[in-house]
Subunit: 206 residues, 2 copies
DNA sequence: TTAAAAATCACCCAATTCAGGGAGAAAAAA
DNA sequence: TTTTTTCTCCCTGAATTGGGTGATTTTTAA
């Protein structure tokens, strides 16, 4: 079997080094390069195509989700594994929806990392047990559970929409939006909109 | 000269590995261990005291700022270097106020990392040029400049205070708070409180 | 299939915020 | 010292939010 060529996109030098070292002596896997921005990643892909890209979600400028989509559209043979921190599980779904084949937390160990790479290189999906569990039940369990609708409303509130605008965007009545809003305040234990926004951004539960 | 013993606290295995490797062949520096939580860090310190701790600000449970304070109070001989991502500059000040001797971004390279460790181990302070610049001028310069008072008001708004509460806390009139609030909306180009909070958190300009 | 949860909408009322204006005193910069 | 900026305060009125209560329908889970 051929060697799996792995490329890393992460804006943290230390993380790149960490991964590179973890993969160093792994049979069947070669490290073929790294980039710290979406631009340099795309530039690299013009010269060489890896089998798997380990891609951080938080990149300066273009975020990982858009980059993932872009890469998958242009180079369907390149598989992407999302990388992120524990408290950003919210983005996992979006990453998967945009063509990622797997998702790893940055605290993953060597076995999990190599296992994920090998599996994804074969065209399969990989999901760490931790992530899979949370994806199933939708949240970090410590955080109050928000319903689908409540999340949508919250998202629009955070974007600065008034109840009126939210109602129009979601095709529901203003009073309904108001009810969701009140439930959000209770569930997130917020005193007002400001606190609501701060809490939801802090916890990244969008 | 003695070897500088370095300990790492970070909840991301990959970061720990990355740092460990960067320090591996560095003369004068030895890696003496790592922890992924505040608890296990404190437990380690009972058995052995490093010279320098590289400490991530984002830890599960107890955050790095509190841990830093705790460590410095109990073990004044141990110096702490804060670690974080670029978009969390807001916490740098707090970290330094709580006894950290330096601050590094996670995308720091080998030279910067070792330089910081050596300098801090001697009892000096270290600040990467990037961080120092931004600390000086308080913001990322792209952002509209807020006055001292406006920042105070904004901070309280983000914490969920009403104008009334803010007025009492700052010993000024409600109308004054209101004026500041309006100016904040204009300066940050926000439509309402929600947008104001999101923008200020996004840009970390507290 | 039945029970529980979520989504929908309505009403009232108080509190707060938003938008517009003006205006004087204090502090900082020129 | 003069000018500019910041900080202070007030007014009016519209819009939005916050708190409480209650009810119907739809969806989901047991």
């Amino acid at each position: 079997m051929n060697m799996v060529k792995v490329f890393i996109v992460d804006d943290h030098y230390m993380v790149i080094e960490g991964i590179r070292v973890l993969l160093q002596h792994e049979p069947g896997i070669t490290f073929c390069g790294a980039a710290s921005s979406a631009e340099s990643c795309m530039a690299f892909l013009l010269t060489e195509l890896p089998d798997v890209i380990l891609m951080d979600i938080n990149l300066p400028g273009v975020n990982g989700i858009e980059l993932c989509q872009l890469v998958r559209l242009k180079y369907p043979s390149v598989f992407v594994i999302g990388l992120s921190t524990f408290n950003q599980l919210s983005y996992i779904r979006k990453m998967m929806e945009n063509g990622a084949s797997g998702y790893l937390l940055k605290n993953a160990g060597r076995e999990e990392l190599t296992g994920a790479i090998i599996k994804v290189a074969r065209g399969q999906e990989f999901m760490s047990s931790e992530v899979a569990l949370i994806l199933k039940h939708g949240n970090t369990s410590l955080l109050p559970l928000l319903t689908r609708r409540e999340k949508e409303v919250l998202e629009l509130i955070v974007e600065g929409c008034t109840n009126n605008e939210i109602a129009r965007k979601l095709f529901i009545g203003i009073s309904t939006v108001d009810t969701h809003r009140k439930n959000l305040l209770v569930k997130l234990n917020a005193r007002n909109t400001a606190a609501l926004v701060r809490i939801s951004l802090d916890q990244k539960l969008l």
